[in-house]
């Protein structure tokens, strides 16, 4: 018996011990105390044991209290409004089922709404009802994508709880302050101590935390031990400078250009090239400028290089053209500035070097270099000798790295252009990155235009970079495109990705617009069998989900 069982009077305990021993051995071998051996012995033993059993049970007393727990820290945030608390319980009760296949039916997918609910609750600074913490921690354990938001919402009591249950240890690792709280940046001594003695992950966390508050202090801290760090650690630490990068970081990064490790050198060069005012950027500008020039002697081929919306090419014989002279060698200076000399298999060395030079050169170089033209005009210029793809791709990378909206706009081109994305954009992924440099409204408008012109089949990746909830024109474009897809007679699951996104990202106020789509339409002769019903179901789910999201928001507003 454990020590929590009730103490029983000592004499009774002796009697009981005797009964148990006799029962184990059997009355044939041992006679119970106080009875005669013989056929009645077992019954006598059981009589006595019954008395003792009831006596022992009735005599149970409470145990001594163990060491009490340290109480959970106060959560100063206001409690959730009751309706929101009920909603949370419902969202947490809906775990993804084991069956992944099959149609989704008309009911919303609550698990997909949990991230949004958490974001809203965190934005409003509510505290969870304590009794939902176990379910919240379980949900965060199962879904790493949910962890940061779930743990932020769960708050200090969840960490207190996580120390008591090994299943939730992840919460202590995932949350700064879960294990040992990182020292305040003001506390120089403990910062130094953690930096000198901490585990790698703790040091990275310290550096990142410091960088977000005091960029210079983080850089200085890094400089104190830089020379003695291992190469892979130097790479990780250097990467932390990406946040809050400023011209002040240039001297340190310049120094890192001479690092022993090639990866460190490349990262330093990449960071420097994102600082258009840096010396490295200026050196790259000179190198790149030497390779790209306006050639007025050439004759443009009318429409020859696929430029459709540029200058009226072909009407003049001497239209300006961009001439490219790729580098003939990768000299040590280039290598020191991060240019990778060896080209990947299947790529020409010279075009490989050119791409890197143009990518690292400040975009402001080009209007000066190319006759005072705007980015738009530059992108529209024909490029001689099949260099256009290489050159535009490098400009795309530069626009993303330097977060240059004007160049991004020029390279994206008109969303309705027939080659889906303007002259320079090479791939959907590249376009998505370019869109990331535009502000939310412009991004949404561009994607809306793209969908209106090209439909949904390629829009998924682009929609992913748009702000949530979708701006009105974007939402309308998606719904219109879905409607067109339905009328075209295909099945809704060809668009399940976009449908899923729409459920999470459409503005709930758009729900009423969808009412007309909920009916099952008459089936045209050439339509896929049953498609109309499935579409009605899919729109049903969309509307239900939107209404649910509207209700969620309202509940969190305490309405």
């Amino acid at each position: 018996m454990t020590r929590t069982s009730a103490p029983v009077d000592a004499p009774g305990a002796d009697v009981w011990e005797g009964l148990v021993t006799t029962a184990l051995l059997g009355t044939d071998r041992r006679t119970p105390p106080g009875t005669a051996p013989g056929p009645d012995a077992p019954a006598a033993l059981l009589d006595a044991a019954a008395v003792e059993t009831v006596r022992r049970r009735a005599g149970r007393r409470p145990a001594r209290a163990a060491e009490p727990l340290q109480p959970a820290p106060e959560d100063p945030r206001p409690a959730l409004p009751p309706a929101a608390a009920r909603r949370l319980a419902m969202l947490l009760a809906d775990r993804p089922g084991p069956s992944g296949g099959g149609r989704r039916g008309a009911a919303p997918d609550l698990t997909e709404l949990l991230p949004q609910w958490l974001a809203l609750a965190n934005a409003r600074g509510f505290a969870p009802p304590p009794q939902v913490l176990p379910a919240l921690l379980d949900a965060a354990r199962g879904r790493t994508d949910l962890r940061p938001a779930a743990l932020e919402f769960a708050g200090p009591r969840a960490l207190w709880l996580a120390r008591l249950n090994p299943d939730w240890r992840f919460a202590l690792r995932a949350t700064p302050g879960g294990g040992a709280a990182p020292p305040q940046p003001q506390d120089d001594e403990s910062v130094q101590q953690l930096w000198q003695e901490g585990l790698f992950a703790e040091r990275v966390a310290l550096l990142s935390a410091l960088r977000s508050r005091e960029p210079a202090a983080a850089r200085d801290l890094l400089a104190t031990t830089w020379a003695t760090e291992r190469a892979e650690d130097r790479l990780m630490f250097l990467d932390s400078l990406r946040a809050g990068l400023s011209p002040d970081d240039e001297p340190f990064l310049e120094q890192a250009l001479a690092d022993r490790s090639r990866n460190v050198r490349a990262t330093a060069a990449e960071l420097l090239s994102a600082l258009p005012g840096s010396a490295l950027a200026a050196r790259m500008a000179v190198r790149a400028g030497a390779c790209v020039a306006i050639d007025h002697t050439r004759t443009a081929q009318p429409g020859g290089n696929g430029v459709e919306n540029g200058e009226p090419a072909g009407t003049t014989t001497n239209a300006p053209t961009i001439a490219v002279e790729a580098p003939h060698e990768c000299d040590p200076g280039m290598e020191r500035d991060g240019v990778v000399a060896k080209a990947p298999a299947g790529r020409g060395e010279r075009s490989w070097w050119l791409g890197q030079l143009v990518e690292a050169a400040p975009l402001a170089t080009w209007p000066r270099r190319l006759g005072g033209r705007t980015p738009q005009e530059i992108v529209a210029l024909p490029v001689a000798d099949d260099w256009q793809g290489e050159l535009h791709a490098a400009w795309c990378r530069a626009a993303v790295r330097q977060r240059d909206a004007e160049w991004s706009r020029a390279l994206l081109g008109e969303p309705s252009a027939a080659d889906a994305g303007g002259p320079g954009a090479v791939s959907l992924a590249e376009r998505a990155k370019l869109l990331g440099t535009l502000d939310a409204a412009e991004r949404a408008e561009w994607v809306a235009g793209f969908i209106a012109a090209h439909g949904l089949s390629e829009a998924f990746q682009l929609l992913g970079v748009c702000a949530v909830p979708w701006a009105a024109p974007l939402g309308r474009a998606v719904v219109d495109a879905l409607n067109i897809a339905r009328d075209a007679g295909s099945y809704p699951w060809s668009f399940s990705g976009v449908m899923g996104l729409a459920e999470r990202c459409l503005d709930p106020s758009e729900a009423s617009r969808l009412d007309a789509l909920l009916a099952v339409p008459d089936e045209p002769e050439d339509a896929s069998p049953g498609a109309g019903g499935y579409w009605a179901e899919a729109f049903q789910r969309l509307v239900t989900t939107l209404r649910l999201r509207a209700a969620m928001t309202e509940e969190l507003e305490g309405a």
């Binding site: 009735a58 007393r61 163990a66 304590p130």
Partner: protein
């Protein structure tokens, strides 16, 4: 009898669900999207049209005015009871006043609810008017006698088997294993002694429960022996104890205690299942009488019992006790108002008082596993690899039962407490305390732990 003011919580609605899949499916329908023409009447009828995959929406109607729990009707083909549409409708009703406004019931909903109530009244009238008992009391007496004889033969046989076991020693029980007990249990079923059969079946599992099993096996054998002996000499026992023995043996009895009218708070509801039967236990606490009583209801394998009373609701009703001293079980009698949320809390006691309460209860019923108690101002704390509930204002504690350790309810309790005192209702007995419901200090709703 207006229902408009007091709507249930989502948890209370979800407690009606027959299984996890229904909870999930119902949750998804608890939003305004698929519903149209939903409404609720003052008489306690809730209705709505739910858009399914077909062209015609399902007609769903729930009567929440029935004190024995809601009654449902839905035109969907589901055989779940209640179906996901009924759950979704009630969730909508619970959460969203605007989506289920007060209205005049449409014909299809009103007719059904009115019909139900007419039948219920008629039935109630019949029961009170008609003489109780079967048509032929003499035949019934002969049947009861025959059954008693069979039970007696079962008890005698069990006594012999126990004697054989003790003669050879419990050590052999470990080797003989499960088969011996299964066979004995089957003999008890043949003898129509269900109570003995259930206990015998549990004996078979004891040798595999780890250290200390001989002690537990001896305890259970002794109590089984005590029950058998009690049955064989029931004529010489006081009436109350004889009734307890009969009920422990598994003989049928009817709740014939005097009706006790009170406002009954639902303290806990939980199901236990075995391959043949789902047993639902509902603990009620009388706000006026301070009595804590137990309602049992049963469902066939895989089906939820029909009676469902979510935690935190209270109903005005009469109950009457089953015969036997210390008997907690009652039957639900006449109901005067449907279940509705209530802020009643049962008064609590200390851990020492709870231990004494169990000791006292064993006097009336030595086979009692546990008693229902509410502990006030206790704090859950780990104790080695176990947990306990300790008095916040003393140094005594009750250990939690081993089974509690692996249940999610334990963590809800710990989270709710956060190291501070809480009020906890549960069952306390020789295996420890099983927490079932908890309340935070101050104000706050009951949190179900089971």
């Amino acid at each position: 009898m207006t229902q408009q003011g007091v709507r249930w919580t989502a948890d209370q609605v979800l407690a009606l669900a027959p299984d996890a899949a229904s909870r999930k499916a119902g949750s998804k329908l608890g939003a305004a999207g698929p519903w149209s023409e939903a409404g609720s009447s003052d008489e306690g009828t809730v209705w709505g049209l739910c858009k399914g995959s077909g062209s015609k929406p399902y007609q769903t109607v729930v009567d929440i005015a029935d004190a024995a729990g809601p009654a449902y009707k839905c035109s969907c083909p589901s055989r779940k009871f209640p179906c996901k549409h009924a759950l979704g409708l009630l969730l909508l009703w619970a959460a969203d006043v605007a989506a289920v406004p007060r209205a005049q019931a449409p014909e299809w909903a009103g007719e059904w609810a009115a019909g139900r109530r007419r039948r219920a009244e008629k039935k109630a009238g019949d029961v009170s008017g008609a003489p109780s008992g079967s048509a032929d009391p003499e035949a019934a007496r002969r049947r009861a006698e025959r059954r008693a004889e069979r039970v007696t033969s079962g008890a005698v046989e069990l006594e012999q088997r126990l004697a054989d076991l003790l003669r050879g020693g419990l050590a052999t029980a470990e080797q003989s294993g499960y088969g011996l007990w299964e066979e004995t249990a089957a003999r008890m079923v043949d003898a129509q002694a269900q109570g003995l059969a259930g206990r015998v079946r549990e004996l078979g599992a004891i040798p595999s429960t780890g250290p200390g099993w001989p002690v537990r096996l001896l305890e259970e054998c002794a109590l089984l022996h005590l029950l058998g002996r009690g049955w064989l000499r029931r004529e010489r026992l006081p009436d109350g104890l004889a009734a307890t023995v009969r009920s422990r043996m598994g003989l049928p009895a009817s709740a014939d205690g005097p009706p006790l009218r009170d406002r009954w708070l639902v303290l806990a509801q939980y199901d236990t299942t075995d391959p043949r039967l789902t047993t639902r236990r509902i603990w009620l606490h009388g706000a006026g009488s301070h009595r804590t009583v137990l309602l049992l209801s049963y469902g066939a394998a895989g089906r939820a019992p029909e009676l469902a009373l979510p935690v935190g609701l209270a109903l005005e009703a009469e109950v009457s006790a089953y015969p036997g001293d210390g008997q907690q079980r009652v039957a639900l009698g006449e109901q005067f108002a449907p279940p509705a949320p209530a802020a009643i809390r049962p008064p609590g006691m200390t851990t020492s008082q709870a231990a004494a309460r169990y000791g006292d209860a064993l006097r009336d019923d030595p086979w009692l596993e546990s008693v229902p108690v509410t502990l006030n101002r206790v704090v859950p704390a780990p104790d080695g690899d176990s947990w306990q509930l300790a008095d916040a204002d003393g140094d005594a504690a009750l250990p939690l039962t081993p089974a509690t350790r692996s249940r999610p309810g334990l963590w809800r309790l710990v989270a709710l407490s956060g190291g501070a005192p809480v009020r906890v209702f549960g069952e306390y007995g020789h295996q420890g305390f099983t927490p079932l419901t908890a309340w935070p200090e101050g104000t706050g709703d009951a949190v179900a732990l089971c």
